[in-house]
């Protein structure tokens, strides 16, 4: 799979006519550079604005770079918003969703990949189907469920309904299914029961996939806005996205400097996480797609 992907490239194919191929490479390079610049520009302006003094924001808007960088906007944000609390809430929320989903997905994926039971295909189809149901449809009923449990405004109330997610199950099933059955049989012959096979053989063997899934789910749940906003109705349970959104809709609405400073602070953790494990994240996304 990997070898095939690495070699299945077009440039190797069009090498026959060097001048044309070369022109093609330069066109591609130029077009992609422009695209990358346009994609990064909004983020560049965001960071730039966050360092501009209040009076400078509308002086020369086209220039993303501040003339006299200032940390004042960050000071304002840290003074007026409990960013530390938001950060802890975001972290707990993201960790809860991530570990919860993975803990449920591992046994489910194992059963779907290697279990023998009636209705396995139906179960797999249901998992796939669940990924296609738009989230807003489940929000009203889930809100009522959470309310009936008295968990509105709490982190468990925010986390629990998000544990019902097919993505992790499906991704892990694809990885588990491609694991050689003979090794699983061998461990069974050696006297391991299926739980031991799962935890001692399959899980360690798929550590890379699990790590990528972990990172993906962390970033996804860290970035959630609507659901935490519905359930986290008290300031004590605001996540970073909710807190920053409230600030942008309210007191920070026209003070662009502090708003952008808050935005930068809120996106810093996921961007740093992405930079650390970039390659793993990129392959998880594309593998999941191709195997699907």
């Amino acid at each position: 799979m990997t070898a095939e992907r690495k070699s299945g490239r077009l440039e190797a194919v069009s090498r026959k006519r060097p001048s044309r191929a070369k022109r093609g490479v330069w066109t591609a390079r130029a077009a992609l550079s422009v695209a990358a610049l346009l994609m990064l520009l909004p983020l560049l302006y965001q960071v730039g604005l966050s360092f501009k003094a209040p009076g400078d924001i509308f002086v020369n808007p086209l220039n993303p770079f501040p003339f006299a960088p200032t940390f004042e906007n960050y000071a304002v944000v840290l003074r007026s918003l409990p960013m530390g609390l938001y950060f802890v809430n975001s972290l707990l929320f993201a960790l809860g969703v991530t570990f919860g989903q993975i803990a449920l997905a591992i046994p489910a994926a194992f059963a779907l990949a290697h279990g023998r039971f009636a209705g396995r295909q139906v179960a797999l189809a249901l998992v796939l189907l669940s990924m296609m149901i738009p989230f807003v449809i489940t929000y009203v009923p889930n809100y009522l469920t959470v309310a009936s449990w008295g968990l509105i405004g709490t982190l468990p109330g925010m986390i629990l309904p998000l544990l019902g997610s097919g993505y992790g199950i499906f991704l892990l099933r694809q990885h588990f299914a491609s694991f050689p059955v003979s090794i699983l049989e061998a461990s069974r012959v050696d006297g391991a029961n299926s739980l031991q096979t799962l935890w001692l053989v399959l899980v360690p063997a798929n550590r890379a996939a699990l790590t990528s899934l972990f990172v993906y789910l962390m970033i996804q749940s860290w970035n959630q806005l609507i659901w935490p906003q519905l359930i986290g109705s008290r300031e004590s349970s605001f996540t970073l996205t909710v807190g920053v959104q409230r600030f942008a809709n309210g007191e920070g609405g026209t003070s662009w400097g502090p708003m952008m400073a808050a935005a930068v602070l809120a996106s810093l953790p996921t961007v740093v996480l992405y930079l650390i494990v970039r390659r793993g994240v990129l392959t998880t996304f594309s593998d999941g797609a191709v195997k699907g």
């Binding site: 695209a35 807003v136 449809i137 009923p141 544990l163 959630q224 708003m259 952008m260 996106s267 797609a289």
Partner: protein, 277 residues
């Protein structure tokens, strides 16, 4: 599976049930009104507009989040491995930032006076529209911000699909003398068909969801409902107007639309069985 049942499938059934009631979400009393929620939404001209706007978002997503990323992925294939990897990393960065956070800077871009776009247009001597309050411009403006945010995902998926094309096919085509544009249009794109179809349908399915947060942050569905789509409307009916019955009826329509798209996808797949991966 239990969690899926509890938080996805049970709510789904509950939604269909609620769609036959008139209910404000909190009161213990529900009135069974049969299909009245459905007739009510269809006789509401605002809701008919919402349907049209949903299709407009889908069309714009096809350009920005399907055609464009596939084009970029085709270009990336021309480059050596290391460079390709660099562009992948760069183009994916916006996808890592929270939608709500990333879109904040767009609300500054779109400011009628002093915003980036209008300052740039002014410098060129062009008219400076009120992007987010002009009913004709607000929807494309919201869509553009969403397309920016989600381009990276689809670009990666397109690239993976293109790279999965077996090398031997390309070699054979080269031996037969195909190159450049002909190689792309005659060999690469037809082989890319199945994963392109998958990407196309998931772009359509996700387009309404992906503009959801940009709508919430940039326009809250306005001006006068001009940027609302079906999904945002469900949310508004349910959690802002507390008309659970109508929200549920709209949800059922949304599911029907999605189911239609998925069935269409499978039909298309069946027609292409000749091609075996």
């Amino acid at each position: 599976m239990l969690a899926l049942t509890l938080f996805v499938f049970a709510p789904l059934a509950q939604t269909v049930l609620i769609s036959f009631f008139e209910w404000n979400l909190v009161s213990p009393q529900r009135h069974f009104i049969g299909l009245e929620n459905y007739t009510a939404i269809f006789s509401d001209p605002g809701f008919v507009g919402v349907i049209g706007q949903s299709f407009a978002y889908m069309a714009l997503a096809l350009i920005g989040n399907f055609a464009l990323p596939v084009g970029l992925a085709l270009l990336t294939l021309q480059l050596p491995e290391r460079e390709a990897e660099l562009f992948q990393s760069l183009l994916f960065v916006p996808a890592v930032v929270a939608v709500s956070i990333g879109v904040l800077v767009w609300s500054w871009f779109y400011l009628p006076a002093g915003g980036l776009f209008n300052v740039a247009l002014g410098a060129l001597g062009l008219p400076q529209p009120a992007w987010l309050t002009d009913p004709g411009l607000a929807l494309p403006a919201v869509s553009l911000a969403a397309n920016w945010k989600f381009l990276g995902f689809n670009y990666l998926i397109a690239l993976a699909g293109l790279r999965a094309i077996p090398r031997e096919y390309l070699e054979a085509a080269r031996v037969d003398g195909a190159s450049g544009a002909r190689l792309i249009f005659r060999i690469v794109l037809p082989l890319f068909g199945p994963s392109a179809l998958f990407l196309l349908v998931s772009t359509l399915l996700q387009s309404l969801e992906q503009v959801f947060v940009p709508i919430e942050v940039l326009t809250v569905g306005g001006p006068a409902g001009a940027t609302t789509n079906l999904m945002y409307s469900v949310y508004q009916e349910g959690f802002k107007f507390f008309r659970a019955g109508r929200a549920a009826a709209e949800s059922v329509l949304l599911i029907a639309l999605f189911a239609g798209l998925i069935v269409w996808q499978f039909r298309m797949f069946e027609r292409r069985v000749a091609y075996d991966r």
